[in-house]
Symmetry: C2
Subunit: 243 residues, 2 copies
DNA sequence: CCAAAAGTGTTATTTGTACACCCATGC
DNA sequence: GCATGGGTGTACAAATAACACTTTTGG
């Protein structure tokens, strides 16, 4: 260790510890992220990821869930998917002082319009594609979060977190297509999903019309499984580098 | 945000920010981890992961690499694999004060005997299996790190990080077997590794005797690829939960 | 009847797995 | 020769991908 063993609480320049949230949803066939408009400098007027300080007696996870509730305006966020992404600690990432930020990724079903948090900041859903530069290092955080979500869809039972409690396989497929930016073969998608026991389970008699036209689709809910074996691989973007 | 926007550097209880390192190697056919014996309370006499404070002007990544050099006694750690694992921030994880720790995973080829760091702490390689309880929440960190390394071997070109610059395919296979705790089919392992272009590349004329006996093995070095397509999946531990 | 979306079936191809087998070396 | 570890070939089973086809709804 590189510091006196009998920690002196104020011997060091204090670090502020914050959480930043990349909150995703799928709306209008596109992956969207919740952003807030900054009211003060630095980066006044620019979009930023929602976030805030970790309080002295709470874990980063708890702080993230508290912020999630405040920013989305949802009363019950206990069922939402929230997962630690990674920690960003470059000394100059905030010009005001040393801030170490633990970033989290959250997934929501098609949500209500957000209200700003306690302060007056405007919060809004925006498509991930074609965003101007964000405040601080939030471009990097958002890119990392997107990549993580896309990768986890392959091997984890993550997609139902984007869907309401009851959903159709078509809706589930749209989640994959929106996040990956690809189109998938419906029959094969269907088979792969149903081949993993516990990924989704059918709601016995129920069916729902989806787009007005077309055959009514069977309804499913999320199952108990957490891992996807075998994985649902996204198509190689180009000439596959393998074999 | 939940704090005054004009950050007052000392308005909050300060957080200490540290790094903890799970440094792995493969020795004697087993996955081993670098541990230090604690000299002071709390947890005096128990094994702990090496680590230390993040200094005011360095990133967590830089702190981790600095600690890695100090704990292993290696002069050049720039080529070693070092990767952020996740951050542990439970308020009571250190009884002395609020410590948020960013954990890192490092991989080494069969290393020299470690020397303790600047302080008198004893540092030692120990097999991951059958370790008594570690200090703080380091059991949890170590378990998470092991799981991460095992999972990443499947889809990332990670295994050569456990090997010297020139290695045989047999040595590479032993890495997989030690980390996963399984035995693999040699012909199939070989094919899969060579089927991914850029995973390993053969050193033209070279060959080396491995165990004294047996045919000399061709030597390889790590290639430029970082991802493994298709992945090298570990055998399902039991009745596979899929299809 | 037509369009749209759900759902089923079939087939060719690729990939994975479990082996049997040969090669080169030390003892 | 024989044990040991490296390296190659092959045959069967399983997973994947592409696409034709049927079903059920609204207009």
């Amino acid at each position: 260790m590189n510091a006196p063993e009998g920690y002196d609480k104020h011997a060091f320049e204090p670090f502020a510890v914050t959480v930043d949230l990349a909150v995703f949803t799928v709306r209008a066939g596109a992956l969207q992220v919740l952003l807030v408009e900054r009211g003060q400098d630095p980066y006044a007027g620019q979009w930023a990821l929602p976030g805030g300080f970790v309080l002295p007696d709470e874990s980063a996870e708890r702080a993230a869930r508290r912020e999630l509730a405040e920013e989305t305006g949802l009363v019950d966020v206990s069922g939402l998917h929230l997962e630690q992404l990674r920690t960003y600690s470059e000394p100059d990432r905030d010009p005001r002082m040393r801030v170490v930020s633990v970033a989290y990724t959250a997934l929501l079903p098609d949500p209500p319009e957000p209200r700003g948090g306690g302060d007056a900041a405007r919060a809004q859903w925006l498509p991930c594609d074609g965003l101007g530069p964000l405040a601080f290092d939030h471009d990097r955080i958002l890119a990392d979060a997107r990549e993580r979500v896309g990768a986890k869809l392959e091997y984890a039972c993550l997609a139902p977190a984007f869907c309401p409690p009851e959903f159709t396989l078509g809706e589930l497929q749209q989640v994959y297509e929106a996040v990956w930016g690809t189109v998938l073969d419906r029959p094969n998608f269907r088979r792969k999903v149903l081949a993993t026991p516990g990924f989704v389970e059918q709601i016995p008699g129920a069916a729902r019309l989806t787009g007005g036209r077309g055959k009514p689709a069977a309804l499913y809910r999320a199952g108990a499984a957490t891992a996807l074996h075998p994985p649902l691989l996204r198509p190689s973007p180009e000439g596959r580098p393998s074999s």
